[in-house]
């Protein structure tokens, strides 16, 4: 009996650490890229990760989550962040930079940085693509394509509209646009909240993120709503009936930036991943079907579907789309999220 007990106690006394030779915390870990959920995850899984693996011979993992969650995770353990590369829409990017969560991009070492269009050259983290938010709808069920944000309030769409909460840029951008339509602005969204409250009878679902919103079309749960151009493309290519249209008020456009996380133990690999994301090869591939992601490398000309549906050049993009003031939005965003969860969700 005593041998057994000694064995047990000593195994415990040695500390469980010794039981896990391969699992210790100190090991060099894989590069972690927190991409977005849904089509971005698919696109990066199919194109960017293989390109990275080919270029470096190293392995990596994707941990898709919303920008706000990325920031929360990095902030929670700043000295040993669980993420090496972050992807941010303009609002969260400002927050992350403000709070010192990102490493400046080693511009001088970069092969592709100088080739980026001016808007994408951000020293805190360059922009690998643009995103566009407009209206998405199911053409099988919505016979007349919507033309304005205001169409969502039509009684015929009772129980058919899908929106997201304000944790995503899609949700917040939509709220600001709606506020603006009713006389508000980036600093005053009361009218927007009122309008979304009025929309309630029409709302079929409040999705957690744009990726989930897109899948609700696939499952037939929602038929119309604000939507991200890219979020629906992979579904569309698979034959899911879903279309994108710019509202007459103008679709919302914004750039998405990619950042090396401060104190990342994998800075070198993080840099290589971002280089791959900026490279003309990867961007050209991502612009093709089914991803249709708007490129930022000037060596990649906007062609195909992207040119046809969205814009043929950056100038065109800037002319046709609404760019919101995220510095102003950020000041109150946290309280809006709280308010949305209380009043709408």
């Amino acid at each position: 009996m005593s041998t057994r007990r000694t064995l047990l106690t000593s195994a415990l006394a040695l500390g469980a650490m010794h039981l896990f030779p391969r699992l210790g915390a100190a090991q060099a870990r894989l590069l972690v890229f927190a991409t977005f959920t849904g089509s971005w995850e698919e696109a990066h899984k199919d194109v960017l990760v293989p390109a990275f693996r080919k270029a470096t011979g190293a392995d990596m993992v994707l941990d898709p989550m919303l920008s706000v969650d990325q920031i929360a995770k990095v902030k929670a353990s700043l000295s040993n962040p669980p993420i090496d590369v972050m992807l941010h829409d303009p609002g969260p990017a400002l927050v992350a930079i403000d709070q010192g969560l990102v490493e400046p991009y080693p511009v001088a070492e970069s092969k592709h940085y100088a080739d980026l269009i001016t808007e994408a050259q951000v020293p805190t983290g360059p922009a690998p693509f643009f995103q566009v938010v407009g209206l998405t709808y199911n053409p099988d069920r919505v016979k007349t394509p919507p033309t304005s944000w205001a169409d969502l309030w039509k009684p015929e769409y009772k129980g058919r509209v899908g929106i997201t909460n304000l944790n995503s840029t899609l949700g917040t951008g939509f709220l600001v646009e709606i506020a603006r339509m009713h006389g508000g602005s980036e600093t005053n969204v009361d009218a927007g909240f009122q309008a979304i409250k009025d929309l309630k009878p029409n709302i079929a679902a409040v999705a957690a993120n744009p990726g989930q919103l897109a899948t609700l079309y696939q499952q037939g749960q929602v038929e119309i709503g604000p939507g991200n151009f890219n979020a629906i493309q992979i579904l569309k290519a698979r034959g899911v009936p879903v279309e994108f249209v710019s509202p007459k008020e103008g679709a919302i456009a914004f750039k998405t930036t990619i950042h090396i996380v401060k104190n990342s133990p994998n800075k070198e690999l993080a840099f290589k991943l971002i280089e791959a994301a900026l490279s003309p090869e990867v961007q050209a591939k991502l612009m093709g079907s089914p991803y249709l992601i708007v490129p930022t490398n000037s060596k990649v000309k906007m062609t195909g579907e992207v040119a046809k549906v969205l814009a043929s050049s950056v100038e065109d993009l800037k002319k046709k789309f609404v760019f919101q003031d995220w510095t102003a939005i950020n000041k109150q965003r946290a309280s809006w999220i709280e308010r949305f969860n209380r009043e709408i969700a």
Partner: protein
Amino acid sequence: MRRRMGWEAVSFRVTLWGLAILGVLLLTLPSVVVIVVSFTSGYSLKFPPPGYSFRWYVSLLDAWQLQFAAGNSLKIAIWTTTLSVLIGVPAALAIARSPTARAKVLDSLFMSPLVLPALSFGLAALMFFSLIGLSVSPLTLVIGHVIVCVPFVLRTTIASVAQLEPTLLESSASLGASRLYTFRRITLPLIRPGIMAGAFIAFMSSFDNVPVSLFLRDARTDMLPIRMWQDLEGKLDVSIAAVSGVMIVLTLSLMMLMERLAGLSRRLR
């Protein structure tokens, strides 16, 4: 009088059997539907499917993220089960036969993770580990999982120890056998099915754990149920139906095996 009673007996049987059948349907239908849908040839979870194919099972071969998460979950579940048995079984032996108040207190303490919200414990564990400077790793995951899985090992082992005939052990001792010998040759073989059943349930519940993993995992230690949950939130992809199909079949086979080896169903009540 007799006719009224006849009617009453009929109404009683019809109601109870009807509800029982409804209950059976509620329990079985989902698994059946998932398996049917997993063979769809289409892209949506439409039922009935527009056509049938193996494409979603084939797609699992390329799903490196799901495979990675499944590997991690398996590793953690194996470590959790091993550790739970190693420290759970001695504790069960100690508690099962001890009438003292202290044993009762220990028993309720060890069982409390079964009813308390595991999510609260997960958050507490995250705070604790970050306070003592242990960053999130497979080690922290295993520790968290052992807390919520060890009660299963305890429960089934205590139950099987309680069924042991004390006279059997005493006669062994009276024949001059040492305590260790008696344990190895008599006690252990008799309680082995109980331990196995408990280990099996601990394994399954570690493999399936969400509330603790939610806080103690990160991208490097991605866990299958969390990966699936996030995929469901983010893409609602049919490949999840294929994963589910695989898991249902594996669970069913493991369960049949354990029923044979350890009489699982008798030990769960």
